[in-house]
């Protein structure tokens, strides 16, 4: 775990709107070692997705630098794209294609021959347990099936770094556990995983290290155990706090305030 899979220094994203400039990300520094599962946590609107979109070449960087798989994101975005897999918050699927067609097309776009693409599709559909639904149109898939297919499509070229932006949002508990198993399996094969989530239990279960972002700035980073130990020591607690308590402390929120916020309700 020596080489860095992701490095960012002073990453800034500003949007110019009618009411002036909005700072979405205000100078984020990150370093993720190769082979890690790295969790990126934060409340809604904290800058998680914006950071991921900059790291995956989907959004221009206002200032600062970012290197993914050792390549500068701004200088050579195409080389970065060849080394990363991306599954964004909104499962990016074409509802009119079948699962198999979608994976095969993705594999072909990454340079596979038709025979290689067909083989890879078979392999990945089996991996995410969608073989039976492979020739059905995606519009008929459930939310969990779509998430798994999206994950499979991000793996067609065996990426060095996999970005997962809230991969379990809106999923039922069983589907969520399925995605967790998948993430562990992918990571065991050597892929670095950069995972954003709002579910602290997810981060606790999956991530070797994590960073908490709030209002566009990193406010905590470390291993889940070290973050809990730091809070326990600082507040002189009698037992280890939960990651929820670390998160609330880091973001200056209270349970009462969070409970009062409008919550997204999954179907």
């Amino acid at each position: 775990m020596n080489a860095l899979a992701i490095e960012a220094e002073g990453l800034v994203k500003q949007y110019r709107g009618r009411t002036g400039t909005v700072d979405a990300v205000r100078g984020v520094d990150l370093s993720v070692a190769a082979g890690e599962v790295f969790g990126f946590l934060g409340p809604n609107g904290a800058g998680k997705s914006t950071t991921v979109r900059m790291l995956t070449t989907l959004l221009s960087i206002t200032s600062g630098t970012a290197r993914v798989a050792g390549i500068d994101v701004t200088a050579d975005p195409d080389a970065v794209r060849r080394r990363i897999g991306v599954a964004l918050q909104e499962a990016g699927l074409d509802p009119r294609q079948t699962g198999r067609e979608l994976i095969e097309l993705q594999a072909r776009l990454f340079g596979s021959s038709p025979a290689e693409a067909a083989g890879r599709a078979e392999e990945l559909l089996e991996l995410v347990e969608l073989t039976d639904a492979a020739d059905r149109r995606i519009k008929g898939y459930s939310g969990g099936m779509k998430r798994r297919l999206d994950l499979a499509s991000a793996l067609v070229h065996q990426p060095e770094v996999l970005f997962l932006d809230e991969p379990t949002t809106g999923l039922d508990p069983a589907s969520r556990l399925g995605v967790w198993d998948e993430v562990r399996r992918i990571n065991q094969r050597g892929t670095t995983v950069f995972l954003t989530t709002q579910y602290l239990e997810e981060a606790d279960q999956l991530c070797h290290r994590l960073a908490i972002i709030d209002d566009g700035r990193i406010v905590r980073s470390g291993t889940p155990a070290s973050l809990k130990a730091e809070l326990r020591a600082r507040l002189a607690l009698s037992s280890d706090p939960t990651l929820d308590e670390v998160f609330l402390d880091a973001t200056g929120r209270t349970r009462e305030r969070v409970a009062g916020e409008v919550q997204e309700v999954g179907a």
């Binding site: 995956t56 070449t57 989907l58 959004l59 221009s60 195409d78 080389a79 794209r81 060849r82 990363i84 991306v86 964004l88 918050q89 909104e90 499962a91 990016g92 699927l93 074409d94 509802p95 009119r96 294609q97 067609e101 097309l105 993705q106 072909r108 776009l109 990454f110 340079g111 149109r137 499509s153």
Partner: protein, 254 residues
């Protein structure tokens, strides 16, 4: 992987998309046929074939057919499918892959061109019972299909610009209505030299006029190279402009 292979892959996907939504094709065929039938029905007797020199011995339906062809070519749904891709996140999935930005644009446009060629052929077959023939022969028929398809790609390129800029299906749909004033500021009902002076000036500045005149020449006359050169020149110039603007917009897309 070359841009051409990527374009072909994305083009095939766009064609598959169209084939799986046949209901979207129905108005694209019905409305141009409706215009052809109604315009011929209303003005066919005003312009009889044997005493109207600009018909070159054919019926008024032959004079009207280019309007219907251009209308069908400008009803493409490529931009609306693009908005769906943007809203559903699939466009980002493609942008995060090492796909040439030109292929991202061209794939859909080429599929739109192929779809327009099929619609054009269907409209020509539908027009045959109205006494329409293609006077320029087989070569003319091929040129007719090619020119209409190229126009379909140009207009789809314009619609894609609106889709990329606004990311809104409603705005993209409204943008398509721009074609109606462009269509009616052409020598749509009579040749340019029979228009009133203000309409003639407007038609002269309207690029659609030259495409329409080229299509009409292929239906009514033998190959008129000067007219064809103007028609193909317009689609080449606007095609290059649309491609340039689309690719630039995709590259700068945030």
């Amino acid at each position: 992987m070359s841009v051409l292979v990527q374009t072909e892959l994305l083009g095939r996907r766009a064609i598959r998309e169209s084939l799986r939504t046949p209901e979207a094709l129905a108005p694209t065929l019905f409305i141009p046929v409706f215009f052809l039938v109604v315009n011929f029905g209303q003005a066919g007797r005003i312009f009889p074939s044997d005493s109207t020199p600009f018909l070159h011995g054919q019926t008024y339906a032959a004079f009207q057919l280019p309007s219907s062809l251009l209308l069908a070519a400008s009803f493409g749904s490529a931009a609306l499918y693009l908005v769906e891709d943007i809203e559903g996140g699939y466009f980002d999935k493609l942008r995060a892959a090492p796909v040439s930005r030109s292929a991202l644009v061209l794939g859909r446009l080429i599929a739109e061109g192929a779809k327009t060629a099929v619609l054009t052929a269907a409209l020509i077959v539908i027009a045959l019972p109205f006494g329409v023939t293609i006077a320029s022969g087989t070569a003319g028929l091929v040129l007719l299909l090619v020119l209409t398809s190229l126009w379909g790609m140009v207009f789809a390129g314009f619609m894609q610009l609106i889709a990329l800029k606004t990311r809104s299906a409603a705005a993209t749909n409204s943008g398509g209505l721009v074609f109606f004033p462009l269509l009616f500021l052409t020598p749509n009902f009579v040749p340019r030299d029979l228009l009133t002076r203000p309409m003639e000036i407007a038609a002269t500045f309207n690029p659609v006029t030259y495409v329409m005149e080229a299509l009409r020449s292929l239906i009514l006359q033998d190959l008129q190279w000067d007219v064809l050169a103007r028609g193909f020149g317009v689609v080449a110039a606007f095609g290059a402009l649309m491609l340039f603007l689309n690719v630039r917009l995709v590259r700068r897309y945030d």
